[in-house]
């Protein structure tokens, strides 16, 4: 094992011991403020076995995951092509860019009240908000990806008379893909943040709903369980996307080396 991993594990162990000591042994932190390890465990068992806030942990987590994936897919299915198109077509860029300049400064979370007004507290509003938040990074990075393609490569493919479809498939997409993936990673992060916020504002299921109910019930153990669940799912989906990126870009040694 490397020194880095060893020290990391040791740190985590020390933090756990400190947590245990401060909450359980010395009682430095009041139970109403931060849960002890035992309380957290019992909250986990509670939501796992009997359910909390309208469902068990798996139901809530899958509900959130489904919304994030749906919103994210809708956003990239619309954002990436639009970004590529704007990168390619200067006129389209000139037309669309000012609209972007107006909409972009509005933070994604500020769309939540509007989405609730339009679609209520159900799934539709969540997907709409995630779409707004994940759309912008997808567009901007795909756009930048096209603009970073080197001139000689374009000229070579034109000179060889590459048909349009093949050009898109074999030159445009591969060359823009490192930037596209950067955009996707940002979009995914934005999706999770937005979903959690939207669920905290109002929802019937989901991890944000667990946090919301736990906050009202003053149930610190459950709050911690909810937060850890959010972190695990955020980490897991980011990891999956990273694996997809490595697989897709396996031909591109320079991009992979730059990522470390």
């Amino acid at each position: 094992m490397s020194r880095r991993i060893l020290i990391g594990l040791a740190t985590l162990a020390v933090v756990f011991v400190l947590w245990y000591t401060a909450t359980t042994v010395l009682g430095l932190i009041a139970p109403g403020r931060f849960p002890s390890p035992a309380e957290t465990w019992s909250a986990l068992v509670h939501i796992w076995d009997r359910g909390y806030g309208g469902g068990d942990l798996v139901t809530h987590a899958l509900h959130s995951l489904r919304l994030v994936v749906l919103g994210f897919l809708v956003a990239i299915a619309t954002g990436v092509p639009l970004g590529l198109f704007m990168g390619w077509n200067r006129r389209a860029e000139a037309i669309i860019n000012p609209i972007f300049l107006i909409i972009r400064p509005i933070p994604p979370l500020a769309w939540i009240p509007l989405a609730i007004l339009w679609l209520g507290l159900g799934d539709g509003a969540k997907i709409l908000v995630i779409w707004f938040s994940a759309f912008v990074p997808s567009v901007i990075n795909s756009f930048a990806g096209v603009r970073t393609i080197e001139r000689p490569m374009l000229e070579a493919s034109f000179m060889l008379g590459t048909p349009r479809l093949r050009f898109i498939q074999e030159v445009l997409l591969p060359a823009a893909s490192p930037m596209i993936f950067t955009g996707l990673r940002l979009s995914l992060q934005a999706s999770w943040t937005t979903l959690v916020a939207a669920e905290l504002v109002g929802a019937f299921y989901g991890l944000g709903r667990v946090l919301n109910v736990a906050q009202q019930d003053l149930y610190p153990g459950m709050i911690l369980v909810g937060m850890v669940a959010v972190a695990i799912f955020g980490w897991g989906t980011t990891r999956l996307l990273g694996m997809l990126e490595t697989y897709t870009l396996r031909w591109n040694t320079a991009a992979l080396a730059a990522r470390g």
């Binding site: 594990l9 943040t193 959010v230």
Partner: protein, 261 residues
């Protein structure tokens, strides 16, 4: 790529785009295709914005709400900078600290800032403390990460030169490491201001009892779409102003060091 369009063309096309956008919005709203309650026309939003500037809604005028929001933002953002930048720099210089803090930091980073809302409300209440903590949670990571990168990726030749000349280590930090990490720190501050401002909006939507986000929630509860949209415009304008100011500062600093590209 197509050849670039001329400046005049791009301006004309830009206005065309904006015209199409606002025109479509206007037509959808005025024609009644989308109920007026849910999509007020652009003019109505402007009117509402003007009214909110003068009359109180949800306890204060729009400017009053903005002032409340901005105060929280300023505290949270400054706190994040004051704690985050030194931590990042130290992590960049001292390997052991990096190895100790990194695993904790990486774990916490995956908790969306907004997920801190319940604990923030529990620990610091919903007045000013809770929202400040959430802004801090949003603005802190970019401060740390960029200060860390700035300190870690200092040109080794500079450090070697300083060491060779026998510079004492405190002076190396003050005169070599710190100045060469400034551009990265400033870039981090810009990202962190953006995330902090966004987190503030989220926090106010959920817990606060004043501020622009609160005003929007009240607008939503009263089915006053124009109020919600006015809030969005105000938030966007302040966010834009913040980014512009930090961009200017960044340019000035980079220019003074001859780093501007």
């Amino acid at each position: 790529m197509q050849p670039p369009v001329t400046f005049l063309q791009s301006v004309a096309l830009g206005f065309l785009g904006l015209g199409l956008f606002i025109g479509l919005w206007y037509v959808l709203s005025v024609s009644g295709f989308v109920p007026r309650v849910f999509l007020p026309s652009p003019g109505e939003v402007v009117d509402r914005f003007a009214v909110l500037m003068e009359r109180r809604f949800a306890g204060a005028t729009l400017l009053g709400h903005l002032a409340a929001s901005f105060e929280r933002f300023a505290y949270g953002f400054l706190l994040a900078a004051v704690v985050g930048i030194p931590l990042g720099l130290l992590m960049g210089w001292y390997r052991l600290l990096d190895e100790i803090v990194s695993p904790l930091f990486d774990g916490l980073r995956f908790v969306a800032p907004i997920a801190w809302v319940p604990f923030a409300a529990l620990w610091f209440g919903t007045g000013i403390g809770g929202p400040i903590m959430i802004i801090f949670a949003g603005a802190f990571p970019p401060c740390v990460i960029n200060a860390y990168r700035g300190a870690k990726f200092v040109d080794p030749r500079l450090i070697e030169a300083a060491n060779m000349l026998g510079t004492p280590s405190l002076r190396v930090i003050r005169e070599v490491l710190l100045p060469s990490s400034v551009p990265s720190i400033i870039a981090g501050l810009r990202v962190s201001a953006g995330l902090g401002w966004q987190s503030l909006v989220g926090a106010e939507l959920i817990v606060a009892s004043a501020g622009v986000g609160y005003m929007m929630v009240q607008g939503q509860a009263n089915v006053s779409t124009a109020t919600v949209m006015s809030g969005m415009v105000a938030i966007g304008l302040v966010g834009l102003a913040l980014d512009t100011i930090l961009r200017l500062i960044e340019r000035v600093i980079l220019r003074r060091r001859g780093l501007e590209h």
